[in-house]
Amino acid sequence: MQSIINSIVANRNLIIYLILSFISFNSLYINSSVHYNGIGKTATYLSGKSSFFSSSINSYFKLKDENQKLIDENLKLKEIELEYKNQIVEYKSLESNSIINGSVIFNSINKSKNIIVIDKGTNGGVNEEMGVISSKGIVGIIKSVTENYASIISVLNTDLKVNAILKNSSTIGSITWDGLNSKILKLNDIPLSSSIKIGDTIVTGGMSFYFPKGIPIGTISNYDNSSLEGYYEIDVSAFNDFSSLSNLYILERNDNDEIKILLND
């Protein structure tokens, strides 16, 4: 307390000077319109600047929440999109019922049998033999599941064969991978009698337990009709960039078992 009083006494001239300056400025502000406008303008400028600065900092800290919101929203939209497509083709028997969101924690593209691991397992509702897609197109099929993780047989795996159709003509074929280029898939079983051209879109055919009809796969980048077997050899450039997968959607379908029982009978 003593030191506060001492410092006030020591700086009394400065304090008196500041108080008297304030009084004279106040008198200017009240009485003179020129100064009133000038000081008012400065105050508005400063308060505008400072509130802009603080709001931009706040929005930066909210980015993470914002991101999560967008992912959730995306998930809902994807669900609606699939539902809508299924309604159009009236393919209700193989309707996909819900979607689970998962993130990639391991991924490879340089082997002949590539596997992806995601951070969702049985606890998250994931089971074996579910189809996996990304926002751009198909990714693969769940191979095995633990409590918290699941492994996916990627489309870039020479063991996997996915039913596919030409979007325009509905000619049925199947997608495989030859183990060479991670951007190019092979479309087989298209007879030479059907007409194709470069740029045609390939989508899933729906004749499988894993994927509903109409999920995008890629576009035709090259084809060879000189085969003696009566089928085209078609190169498909995939929509997905398999080297940069992050968020995946797992399609949950609860009528697979019923169909399997029928098939086994």
Partner: protein, 166 residues
């Protein structure tokens, strides 16, 4: 002691009356108004109390402001030079500034010129910046500062010589 006080009050009143009734009426070429009253703060003795000097500056400023309706420009300019007078003294007179009543006699001419000059120019800069208060009138402000500083300086210098000769 009493005599000195009475003499100072008399000096102060005379200067203020001259400022109010003579120099404030002068408006040479439309914008020259000499600030004679600065002589009060120049001749305030260094041995006197500095806090009283600031209050004296405030009262003088208010009186001049009321008479010419500048609402606080003179007040702010005068209390500012009163507050910084100690620093200006040190800068102008160097080591001599601690000597009591070293002001008028016994100092170098160049020191006194510097002291008078700084106070007059400093006061003009603050006063005209506040009066115009508009960056677009920058050159008008500079012109006013230069011309008024010169005229005020000459008048204050002449009157100071007159007083010290007596």
């Amino acid at each position: 002691m009493i005599r000195e006080l009475l003499r100072n009050i008399f000096f102060y009143t005379i200067i203020l009356v001259f400022q109010l009734f003579v120099f404030n009426q002068i408006n040479l070429l439309g914008y020259i108004t000499p600030f004679l009253y600065l002589i009060i703060f120049i001749h305030y003795k260094t041995s006197y109390n500095k806090t009283i000097l600031i209050f004296l500056g405030f009262i003088t400023g208010v009186i001049i402001d009321l008479s010419v309706q500048t609402y606080g420009c003179h007040t702010f300019a005068t209390i500012t030079i009163c507050y910084f007078r100690g620093g200006i003294e040190k800068y102008s007179f160097g080591v001599n500034s601690n000597l009591p009543s070293a002001m008028i006699s016994g100092t170098q001419l160049i020191n006194r010129l510097t002291f008078y000059g700084i106070i007059v120019v400093f006061h003009s800069i603050i006063y005209y910046s506040l009066v115009f208060f508009n960056i677009e009138l920058f050159w008008t402000i500079v012109l006013n500062i230069i011309i008024n500083s010169i005229i005020t300086f000459i008048i204050i210098w002449l009157i100071s010589q007159l007083i010290s000769n007596k």
